[in-house]
Symmetry: C2
Subunit: 167 residues, 2 copies
């Protein structure tokens, strides 16, 4: 390991260690956060992709397929299977757009809402104690940094968006 002859070098190493630890944190936190819902999903024969779709349809009732694709950053084909499953099981409903009838506005059915709540509870059980233990100031910092890491366009949309209804 480099000695402290070179202060710049040492600063660089400290910085890099910070980033490497952040890489670790992002991997582990995401791994365990997603895992919280996995057992329930598996019982139902659903996967994480289904959960993501349920979550973002629940968060954005009346979202269009195109907008959902933009959030998930997957292709139409990838979503087709997942969405097909959810429609078939009656967890998600479609209706034509009001102003543009080509659109299929997506919403959760009652059953979909109920399932999403169950999945939500699992993840809440992991996040809740973590937030409580960390305190309000740390939580605020967490939110600030996470917002800064993600794409600014999506971050900007999150600001305004409690729920945004169909367009």
């Amino acid at each position: 390991m480099p000695e402290s002859h070179d202060a710049d070098r040492a600063t660089q190493d400290v910085q890099d260690l910070l980033f490497r630890q952040a890489q670790d944190l992002l991997f582990f936190a995401y791994r365990d956060f997603t895992h919280a819902a996995d057992t329930l999903l598996e019982e139902l024969g659903l996967g994480r992709a289904h959960h993501r779709a349920l979550h973002f349809i629940g968060r954005n009732p009346g979202i269009t397929v195109t907008d959902l694709l933009g959030i998930l950053r997957i292709t139409k084909q990838s979503l087709a299977r997942v969405l097909g499953d959810l429609l078939e099981r009656g967890l998600v409903a479609q209706e034509p757009g009001l102003t543009d009838r080509r659109q299929r506005l997506l919403t959760l059915t009652d059953a979909g809402t109920a399932l999403e709540h169950q999945l939500f509870d699992r993840q809440k059980a992991r996040l809740g104690p973590a937030f409580t233990a960390s305190g309000a100031a740390a939580l605020s910092g967490f939110q600030t940094v996470m917002r800064a890491i993600m794409d600014s366009a999506d971050a900007a949309r999150l600001e305004t968006n409690g729920t945004d209804d169909g367009r």
Copy 2:
């Protein structure tokens, strides 16, 4: 009289919104964080699984296969393909354990280290500005919360572990 009841309900809703926003943040931040390295990986015909292996071998030089499996939380078969690719390309090297010759201690070769650095730089380019913009206090909160979200056993290992050498 239903006032306190309503208040509880309102508090519940506020709390839930906080958790739902956290779900959003984890998804988006992880999506964009991982994406930072993707183009480089694709040029090389490697995937994210290869990157994860490179990262954790780099972070834990001399790690055993079993320990790496424990970190990644995947099965031996899943790792076999990835590790096989990395060995074949000369990015990772194995050597028998000193005290237990059944072990295969994993290390990055010079080429592996170089590639990991390149991938690291991509992610640093995303995290760096985010950290700078957020400030030291927010960054500290981010670390606190992320540590609290992840499994406590792994979090505890991160505390002690700058790099931990083979056992």
